[in-house]
């Protein structure tokens, strides 16, 4: 069995073009955390169950622990480190801070990106919509009430700035 070879990849991470050398099957999670030192993306389970590793890949929310590096060739990736420069994600971050959506913080990067992703598609989600769209993001601290509230506040804040 011959050892797998690293391949060169180029993609855009948080608006910046990046050149990478990675094994094709390396997890995007590790590429972000170890190669790019973007440690805001977290690992809670490593098997697609918790959403702590969620990032936005070409406009879609994915669990980066399940994405092989080869899949990001030419892709655009938004991680939590880029959220402050993303109009919707930044508003979500602010709402989480003000309305108690953050406790221990380990789920927050994934939850905030999941919420930003929802609000990019749906400007006025109902509580049920919010709960449904966050069902892939486990949080052990908050009981979700304040997360749901934070997303709802972010939605109404965005409406204020949009109208």
């Amino acid at each position: 069995m011959s050892a797998p070879k690293k391949i060169s990849l180029h993609c855009t991470v948080n608006g910046e073009p990046r050149e990478l050398n990675a094994y094709p099957m390396a997890r995007l999670l590790d590429v972000l955390r170890e190669d790019l030192r973007l440690t805001g993306t977290k690992e809670g389970c490593g098997e697609g169950e918790c959403g702590a590793c969620a990032v936005i890949l070409n406009g879609e929310l994915v669990n980066s622990c399940l994405v092989p590096a080869i899949q990001v060739q030419g892709a655009e990736i938004l991680t939590i480190e880029g959220a402050a420069n993303h109009p919707i994600a930044a508003q979500v971050q602010e709402a989480f801070l003000r309305h108690g959506g953050v406790q221990c913080g380990i789920c927050s990067p994934g939850v905030i990106l999941a919420a930003a992703n929802l609000l990019s598609h749906d400007k006025a989600p109902s509580e049920a919509d919010i709960r449904e769209s966050l069902a892939g993001n486990l949080c052990r601290c908050t009981g979700y009430s304040k997360i749901v509230d934070s997303v709802a506040y972010a939605a109404s804040d965005l409406k204020g700035t949009r109208s």
Partner: protein
């Protein structure tokens, strides 16, 4: 305006620094090779070909320079097995290598040869001493609480009602798995960074196992992604392992458990079995309670003795009963050791009691709320340990608030009618629980700890808080800053909470037992007032001041006189008296009081239960930060929902069979209802601004409220949790389907 969470912005930006985010250029990764059998002797260890073994650092029990144990209350748990194996996840060999993937391959190539011995896996088998696997009798601790003379009441009682209740193991499931980084060398000693609740516990364990002087060991807490008790004692194991590897390798070593290892090997909530025998009068007065409470501690003592104490003391609940006998046993089994989990024994015994109270109500034909009302404790009454209540609990008031908010009476009636229709597929239920939770260490625990916290001034006129209490998501940083801000009349933004580092902060005890705000917060408050006093006496601060006067005084003092620091040491309020031999007296300085109401739907085809609505009403003294406090209640209730109906640890011959998030199920946003939180305030004289502890309380009441609701919905008395669909199917099979208990 709400004060924002101190470290909230870094967390929301992904900039907070957790243990796995640490990088060193020469970092090695560490892993643990574990036993594969539950009990036996090690006859040999072999390293099979397949990896370049000379590249590895290998540590066995022979490499331990100090005592081979994880020092906690007892020294019974080895750091690495030396001949004997007592549970299926027993650590035997440690490996370190620069490449994580090669390391994982190597782990599978270590073969531990063993001779198996018969093992014990249940409370009953352990109590029956089928095998003696720990000490002389398998008992980590036994205790007896006696009040009055319970033997005198059986003969004259109108009714004697018995029941047996059990609860399963539960994983804390902090979303950040356990992990540590250690950097050790023989000259300078060892520094450990990691996810933890109790830096000085880790420090003590390292000093003991490495045989180092206390000042050669430094423990630094990194941002911690949840604890809930699961990072109380286990971090000592990983820290010691990482330090041993680092010592031998001469390089820093990172050990991060993946989820599967964390689930399989780390501590869980103790499974429990409780038997109740209760004498009551026709009118529903409690005459005598006999309780037999047993918990499964797993293979080593860890903190089982204190879990047992708290569980047993809470077993009689918020009720007045003249004659009580509570026996408690913490037993050994050949499962990985169990440990702390939010509530610490109380959720187990309170589940039993509150299900039992509903059983009694049904037997007597008295509404459950009325039965509670006839027996609640009041000021001046004596609890089961003979503690005379100085405070004024208002359980009737909480009950009324909670039931009204939930629409309990109307719903109970409407649900009973709808459920009676055999066509109804989804049965609805509503139920409640009434309970109390003692805050701070049990008995003389706080006196013995004699915790210290401090504040100090900076030259820039800011205040720093020094304490070993850790921020684990609960909001300790924010609440400490708020307490100082309130005491000194300055904005909380001018207060910084120093990251716990055993070389910098005093020992303010562990971050457990709902003690951080109430006990340590009070020390912080006193230290702040002490600092203000120094400023006043130095003539730099008048009796009344504006924030900028204060800042001015502070920076002038530092410039002209030098460093300014004020320490405060815990002094037990003089009225607290506790007899640890006989479990008599003031078990806790104060209690939080609560009534929780759950509304559920039970699908009679899929046997799925869903919690539709939840009301949590409590009195926790003064609420310092309403948003953080409500967040504690909502999170705790949600863990209680998991405890009640979702979370099952499947134990196969001592090993967790479902150690993945695909099959160990915790509540998601879809499984969690809106939780209505109600606070009644009744300031506690010895808490900062009148606050009491709050963290553990919500875990106590959720499960019994839910199961009381499920029993109401199904008409079947259900005495066991977790009540997953499979268990519900079994429980209902054979139960009379014709409707309600009342």
């Amino acid at each position: 305006m709400t004060i924002l969470r101190k470290e909230g912005r870094e967390k929301a930006r992904g900039a907070a620094f957790y243990v796995d985010d640490i990088a060193f250029s020469n970092l090695l990764h560490g892993t643990t090779v574990r036993s594969s059998i539950a009990r036996g002797c090690i006859s040999g260890i072999s390293y099979l070909p397949g990896v370049p073994w000379d590249e590895f650092t290998i540590v066995t029990s022979k490499d331990i320079p100090g005592k081979n144990c994880i020092a906690h209350i007892l020294h019974d748990q080895p750091c690495l097995a030396d001949g004997l194996i007592n549970h299926p996840e027993e650590p035997v060999v440690l490996l370190a290598h620069p490449d994580r993937h090669v390391l994982e391959k190597a782990r599978r190539l270590v073969q531990i040869e063993t001779k198996e011995l018969p093992a014990v896996f249940t409370i009953e088998d352990s109590l029956a001493r089928k095998q003696v696997i720990w000490g002389a009798d398998n008992l980590f601790k036994s205790l007896l609480i006696e009040k009055g003379n319970v033997d005198s009441v059986w003969a004259g009682a109108d009714r004697i009602i018995e029941g047996e209740y059990s609860t399963g193991a539960q994983e804390q499931l902090y979303l950040e798995p356990n992990g540590m980084v250690a950097k050790a060398d023989n000259l300078s000693g060892v520094t450990v960074w990691g996810s933890m609740q109790c830096p000085f516990y880790v420090h003590h364990a390292l000093v003991t196992a490495l045989g180092l002087q206390a000042d050669k060991v430094r423990v630094i807490q990194t941002e911690t992604g949840g604890g809930f008790g699961g990072k109380e004692d286990y971090p000592s194991v990983i820290a010691t392992h990482a330090a041993l590897l680092s010592l031998k390798a001469g390089k820093p070593v990172k050990m991060i458990y993946d989820r599967a290892e964390d689930l399989a090997a780390t501590t869980k909530r103790h499974p429990s079995r409780t038997r109740h025998k209760t004498a009551v009068s026709k009118s529903g007065k409690l005459l005598g309670m006999e309780v037999d409470f047993a918990i499964d501690g797993g293979a080593y003592a860890t903190i089982s003795s204190v879990v047992l104490s708290r569980g047993a003391i809470h077993a009689a609940g918020p009720y007045l009963c003249p004659n009580v006998r509570i026996r408690g046993h913490a037993v050994a089994t050949n499962s990985p050791p169990n440990g702390a989990f939010r509530g610490f024994g109380a959720p187990q015994s309170i589940f039993a009691l509150e299900r039992h109270m509903d059983t009694i109500a049904a037997e007597l034909g008295i509404p459950p709320e009325e039965l509670r009302r006839r027996n609640f404790l009041h000021q001046g009454d004596q609890t089961a340990t003979g503690q005379v209540l100085r405070e004024k609990p208002d359980m009737e008031g909480l009950l009324e608030k909670a039931l009204n908010a939930a629409g309990y009476h109307e719903k109970r009636k409407a649900f009973a009618e709808a459920n009676a229709n055999p066509e109804t597929r989804v049965k609805k239920g509503i139920g409640f629980s009434a309970f109390m939770h003692g805050a701070g260490f049990t008995g003389s625990g706080e006196k013995m700890l004699a915790s210290v916290a401090a504040v100090q001034a900076t030259a820039a006129g800011r205040i720093e808080v020094l304490a070993s209490s850790t921020e684990i998501g609960q909001g300790a940083n924010t609440v400490f800053a708020q307490i100082v801000s309130h005491a000194l009349g300055i904005p909380s933004d001018w207060v910084d909470v120093v990251r716990p580092d055993t070389s910098i902060v005093p020992n303010s005890g562990p971050t457990v037992a709902s003690r951080t705000t109430m006990i340590v917060g009070k020390l912080v408050e006193n230290a702040a007032l002490g600092l203000r006093e120094v400023l006043r006496q130095s003539g730099r601060l008048g009796l009344s001041h504006t924030p900028s006067d204060f800042q001015q005084a502070l920076s002038t003092y530092v410039r002209e006189v030098g460093p300014l620091r004020s320490d405060s040491t815990y002094k037990q309020p003089s009225h607290i008296e506790w007899d640890d031999m006989n479990y008599r007296g003031d078990a806790y300085g104060t209690f939080a009081w609560a009534v929780y109401v759950a509304e559920v739907s039970v699908d009679t085809v899929t046997y799925e239960t869903k919690v539709d609505h939840f009301v949590a009403a409590q009195e926790v003294g003064k609420v310092i930060h309403p948003m953080l406090a409500a967040g504690q209640i909502e999170g705790g209730v949600t863990q209680g929902i998991g405890f009640a109906i979702y979370e099952e640890v499947v134990n196969r011959s001592g090993r967790m069979a479902n150690n993945r998030l695909t099959n160990y199920i915790i509540p998601t946003s879809m499984d969690t209802p809106r939780i209505q939180v109600i606070f009644a305030e009744n300031p506690y004289a010895h808490g900062p601004q009148g606050a009491k502890g709050i963290g553990e309380l919500p875990l106590d009441g959720a499960a019994p409220a839910i199961l009381n609701a499920v029993s109401f919905a199904t008409g079947a008395p259900i005495h066991q949790i977790p009540m997953t669909p499979e268990h519900l199917l079994r429980a209902l099979h054979g139960a009379k389907p014709e409707g309600q208990q009342l």
